[in-house]
């Protein structure tokens, strides 16, 4: 019992720490400090997700909120302005911060004392029990996804249509951002001494980038067996090009001739792969004159075709999940790379195209 109490103490400390971090992030005038406080909050949230037994979320959340998101905001404040133009009274701030902490503890005490509180229930809802029972169960093959990873099965099999449309939202957001920067092109010559950071940083980044790519690919391809999957692997992979962009400078990409168009081609082939996997069983069924569904993974009632779920020597393949994960990782990673390539163009070159040469005085 003592160990369970410790488990919940860890959670409570994460919660209280995140309140302080969020408070400081919101009231801080200096945006750089606000981003760092937000990174502390992200680390604490990641630990909280770990304690809530959501390793999939941790694997997505850490690359996104520690690896990508501070970088994006730092790009933004380097291009715009760093300080917010508001005046806050110090005494009022301290009082508000203390009040919110006291509010948290007092309300929690009231909730627990009255017995109305959110004690975690010993059981999950019926639907969750059904998902857990059928995710990997060869005895009920006709309703099972045949992959041991519950989250990935829901993402790409049970609720696959949702995920396909969410991929479409992702695609539209990226297309809209590219449209805002249309016509902007800039190329330079890479100079090892002038561009980028110090030699020590460059050398270690050279070692680390293959490691990051390896970790990202393994997260993406083991998504049907262990925590991981297309979104997790893709957002983990996207940190590698961003690191190269910051440490070696944008001109390194010009040197190795990796352009926006190539990233767009990778992204399109990833999306094409997602589409083909969704229709693969249907296309095969048309040639074999049998009924089938869109987004079909395993054989269903009245639709006897399906992806193989077991390879040689009993290796689990996860049916269509493996292919979906690989293609989605490609699409997500390349999509973010396009945006970073656009963000990294120095402002003086962009201004001449977008504003038409007219300079503001500030």
């Amino acid at each position: 019992m003592i160990s369970l109490t410790l488990y919940y103490v860890l959670m409570a400390i994460c919660g209280l720490g995140s309140v302080v971090a969020v408070f400081l992030a919101i009231v801080e005038r200096d945006m750089l400090k606000a981003v760092l406080f937000s990174a502390i909050q992200s680390t604490l949230y990641a630990f909280l997700y770990y304690l809530l037994m959501a390793p999939d979320i941790v694997l997505t959340y850490i690359p996104v909120s520690v690896g990508l998101y501070p970088a994006v905001i730092l790009f933004l404040i380097k291009k715009t302005e760093r300080f917010e133009d508001v005046e806050m009274k110090k005494g009022v701030l301290w009082a508000t911060g203390l009040l919110s902490l006291v509010f948290v503890i007092a309300t929690a005490a009231v909730i627990a004392g009255k017995g109305i509180g959110p004690v975690p229930p010993p059981d999950v809802r019926f639907l969750a029990g059904w998902y857990l029972a059928t995710t990997f169960n060869p005895r009920v093959h006709l309703i099972s996804a045949m992959a041991p990873e519950g989250v990935t099965s829901i993402v790409w099999d049970y609720r696959g249509l949702d995920t396909v449309f969410e991929t479409a939202v992702l695609f539209l957001a990226i297309i809209a951002s590219v449209a805002l920067m249309r016509g902007v092109e800039h190329k330079g010559v890479y100079d090892e001494l002038k561009h980028g950071m110090t030699l020590i940083g460059k050398t270690i980044t050279k070692i680390v980038v293959p490691l990051i790519i390896g970790v990202g690919i393994s997260i993406a391809l083991h998504g049907h067996l262990t925590p991981g999957g297309g979104f997790q692997g893709g957002s983990a992979l996207a940190v590698a090009p961003l690191l190269v962009l910051v440490v070696f400078s944008k001109y390194f990409f010009d040197k190795v001739k990796f352009t926006k168009t190539k990233a767009l081609a990778i992204r399109s082939s990833g999306l094409l792969g997602v589409g083909l996997t969704a229709f693969a069983v249907l296309i095969a069924a048309i040639f074999l004159h049998k009924p089938a569904y869109i987004l079909q993974n395993q054989p269903r009632v009245g639709a006897p075709l399906g992806f193989p779920w077991k390879g040689i020597d009993g290796v689990l393949l996860g049916g269509s999940l493996l292919s979906f994960n690989a293609c989605e990782a490609m699409a997500v990673c390349a999509g973010f790379v396009i945006l970073f390539l656009l963000l990294s163009i120095p402002e003086r070159y962009v201004r001449s195209v977008v504003v038409g040469g007219e300079e503001h005085e500030h």
Binding site: T198, I200, G201, I207, V208, L211
Partner: protein, 129 residues
Amino acid sequence: MDPVTNWVLVILGEILVSIGVFFDVVAAIGMLRFPNFFVRLHAATIGAIGGAFVPLMGVALIAAGCDFLGKYRWFIAGAAAVTGVLVLMLAPVGSHLLAKAAHESRAAVVEPKVVDFLEEDKAKEGGEQ
């Protein structure tokens, strides 16, 4: 593996984790009490190498000895060792980049400052050119 090897591995790992925890607390106290950024870098070194690399190696040993985890203990052991090696490589470089940038941009306040050789060397170089 036989029980004796398991016990030896677990006890070795526990010793390493204990050392790591001690370094961790020491580094945290130093982080809190030291006067400025460049002094706190020392505490950060202890916190990253002594407080993360050593316990990660200890965790790898403990996991290798824990037969109640089944065959997955090798997964934990390998991943913990890989994480330890990563920390060993990344932490010093991160501190180096941060210290260099902080010195260059004067972002950190150096309150009880005795001597700054890097600044003097830079001034000399600038004078010669």
